[in-house]
Subunit: 325 residues, 2 copies
C-alpha cells in the first residue's frame, strides 16, 4: 500500500513515523507548499512540491492530509478527493456535516474515497460514544479531555502583553470523573468538568498580578473554569513542558433490567505522550481501510462510523477470529 | 424489526428487557424447549414451543440464540442459521474458528446471516483488542476480568463435599493493573493478573479447614491463584452475593515516534451490575446490524469485527455525524 503525506508539520511527521510501524505500507513521498529543499524529513522520505502532486496520481493509493482544520482542510479535502483517496483529521465538530457534504460530492465525482474527521476526537472518542450509546440506550455519556496541552489556550495566553511563552493544560476534575463512574448521571457545569493549568513565562518587569488576572477573566477561554497560573522561566518551560501530551475519557453509564435495577459503566480512556503522533497512528490505520474499500469499488465520503473494524487490520479475517476474538 | 428469543434463562430474560429499550424493535415471542405454560415472562411476551419455530419463519427478522456454549450453541447456531438470521454469544474462544466454519456454511446455504460470539468477551473486549492493536502496532495488550462472578468457579466449589453453596469472584490485581497502565509492558503470571475470592456456605459440622485447603489447591481453578476463602451463612450469601456482576479491562500500551520515544495507553473498562443483561444488550444492538445487512443481501457467518459501527445505531448516518462525531 503506497501512502503519501500532504503537509509536513507535527501531524505529518507523526504519519511518517507511523508508516514505519506498518509492514504493509510504504511512503511515496511528502508533499509540501514550502520549498522542498528546506524540509528535512525523519526517515529520508523524498519531498516534493505540493503543486506537482497530480503527476503522482497513479503511484499513490492513499493520500494523508496533514493540514489544519481552520483554513487548510475545508479547501484541501474536497479538492484532493477528486483525484486521490484521502484521509483527513478535520476536527471542527460543528461544521463536520458541511465538510462531509462538500467532500462527498467531490469524491463521488472523482471516483475516490475520502475518510474525514479521523483521529481521537473526532475519531476514537466518537466511536466509543456510538458503541456505548447503542449498548446502553437508557443512559448518559460524558467526554472529558486531558490531562493535555491545548494549543489554542496556550496561544491565547501568548497574545497577552508581557507574556513571552506559555503552556496550558486542560485537566479533568477528578471528583466529577468519580461521580460519573458511579452511575449517578450528574449534570455537570463547564467548571465542574475541567480545570485549566497555565505555565507562563513573562518579560522582566512585567506585572504578574495583572497578567494572572487577565488570563483568569478571559471570556470563553478561562473565565468559566477554575484556572491556576504558575509563572516559570523559559528554561523551566523548555525543560518540563516541551511535550504535547493529551488524552481523556469517554464514559457512559446506563441502566438495564426490570425497573432499570442494574447500572453499568463503560469507560474508554486515552493517555497519550504525543497528541500528533497518536492522531497520525489513527490516520494510518484508517488509510488501510480506505485502500481496501477503494479496491472494492466504494466511493464517496466516509467517517470512522462507516468502517468495519476488520478492515483496519493487516491480519486476515481468519487470523483475527483465531487470535483476537 | 421483529426479534425472537430462543432459550429463556438469564440471557433470554436480559434480551427480553433490552428489546424494551429499543423503540425500533418488537418481540415476536420466546421459544423454549420447556413446556411454554410453565414459563413466566417479564413483559408478557408470548411463549411458544421451540419445535414450532419454523412456522414463524416469515415473522422473525432476527432470532437471538440464548443457549449455552458448551452443548446448545454448537448445534443450535448452524441448524437455525439455515432458516433464520441469528445472533449468538458463543464464548469458547479456542473453538470459535470451528464454530464459524460450520455456521458459515449453513448460513450461506440458507441465505441468512449468523453473527456469532457476540457479547463483551468475546465481543466488545475483542473489538477493543483489535482497535488498540491497529492504533499501536508496536505494543502489548492485556485483558483483565473482574471484579465479577465466575459461574464455573462457583460451581467447582459447590461440588466439594460439605459445601452447600458458594460464590466466587475473579478480581484483577490492582498493582498489576497499575504496572500495565504505566507502559512498562510487564510479563505477568496467572497469579499476578487475578486473584480469587470465595464465599462459601458449608453444612453444619463440616471441616472448614479441609474445605479451604481443597479449594485453594484445586488444579486449574484455584491452585495457580492467590485465593481467599470466607465462610458465611446461606442468609449472608443470599443477601450480599445475589447479583451477577462482572466486567474488566482491555489495556494496550505502545510506542510511537523516532526511537519509540513516546508511550501511549488505551484502556477500555466495563463495570457491569448484571453480566447477562449487558451481554443481552450487546446481542440486541448487533441484531439491528444483522437485519440491515440481511436486507442488503449479505449472507454467511459474521463477527463483531465485520460490522461497521453505524449499522448498530437506530440513528441515520446524518444524525450520527451531527451528534456523535
Amino acid at each position: 500500500m503506497n501512502i503519501a503525506i500532504y503537509g509536513y508539520g507535527n501531524l505529518g511527521r507523526g504519519v511518517e513515523c507511523a508508516v514505519q510501524q506498518n509492514a504493509d505500507m510504504s511512503l511515496v513521498g511528502i508533499f509540501t507548499r514550502r520549498d522542498p529543499a528546506s524540509v528535512k524529513t525523519l526517515y529520508n522520505t523524498p519531498v516534493y512540491p505540493a503543486a506537482e502532486i497530480d503527476t503522482f496520481a497513479d503511484r499513490i493509493d492513499v493520500l494523508i492530509l496533514c493540514g489544519g482544520s481552520a483554513t487548510d482542510l475545508p479547501e484541501m479535502t474536497p479538492a484532493l478527493s477528486r483525484r486521490f483517496n484521502v484521509v483527513d483529521s478535520y476536527d471542527t465538530h460543528a461544521t463536520i456535516p458541511a465538510h462531509f457534504e462538500k467532500t462527498d460530492k467531490a469524491a463521488r465525482e472523482g471516483g475516490h474515497i475520502a475518510l474525514i474527521s479521523c483521529g481521537w476526537d473526532p475519531g476514537m472518542f466518537s466511536l466509543n460514544r456510538l458503541y456505548a450509546g447503542v449498548l446502553l440506550p437508557d443512559g448518559k455519556d460524558y467526554t472529558f479531555w486531558g490531562r493535555g496541552v491545548s494549543q489554542g489556550h496556550s496561544d491565547a495566553i501568548r497574545r497577552i502583553d508581557g507574556v513571552l511563552d506559555a503552556r496550558q493544560y486542560t485537566v479533568p476534575v477528578a471528583e466529577s470523573l468519580e461521580a460519573v463512574r458511579s452511575g449517578s448521571m450528574p449534570e455537570l457545569t463547564t467548571r465542574e468538568k475541567h480545570r485549566r493549568e497555565c505555565y507562563v513565562v513573562v518579560a522582566e518587569g512585567a506585572d504578574k498580578a495583572a497578567i494572572e488576572q487577565q488570563i483568569k477573566t478571559m471570556p470563553n477561554y478561562f473565565a468559566d473554569y477554575d484556572t491556576t497560573v504558575t509563572f516559570i522561566t523559559q528554561e523551566e518551560l523548555d525543560r518540563d513542558h516541551r511535550g504535547i501530551p493529551h488524552g481523556g475519557f469517554v464514559i457512559r453509564t446506563g441502566k438495564t433490567g426490570v425497573d432499570n435495577c442494574h447500572t453499568h459503566t463503560i469507560e474508554y480512556r486515552l493517555q497519550l505522550d504525543s497528541n500528533p503522533e497518536f492522531t497520525a497512528s489513527v490516520l494510518v490505520a484508517y488509510a488501510r481501510a480506505v485502500d481496501r474499500l477503494s479496491k472494492r469499488g466504494v466511493t464517496g465520503c466516509k467517517t470512522v462510523f462507516d468502517i468495519a473494524p476488520a478492515d483496519l487490520s493487516p491480519l486476515s479475517a481468519e487470523e483475527l477470529r483465531a487470535t483476537l476474538l
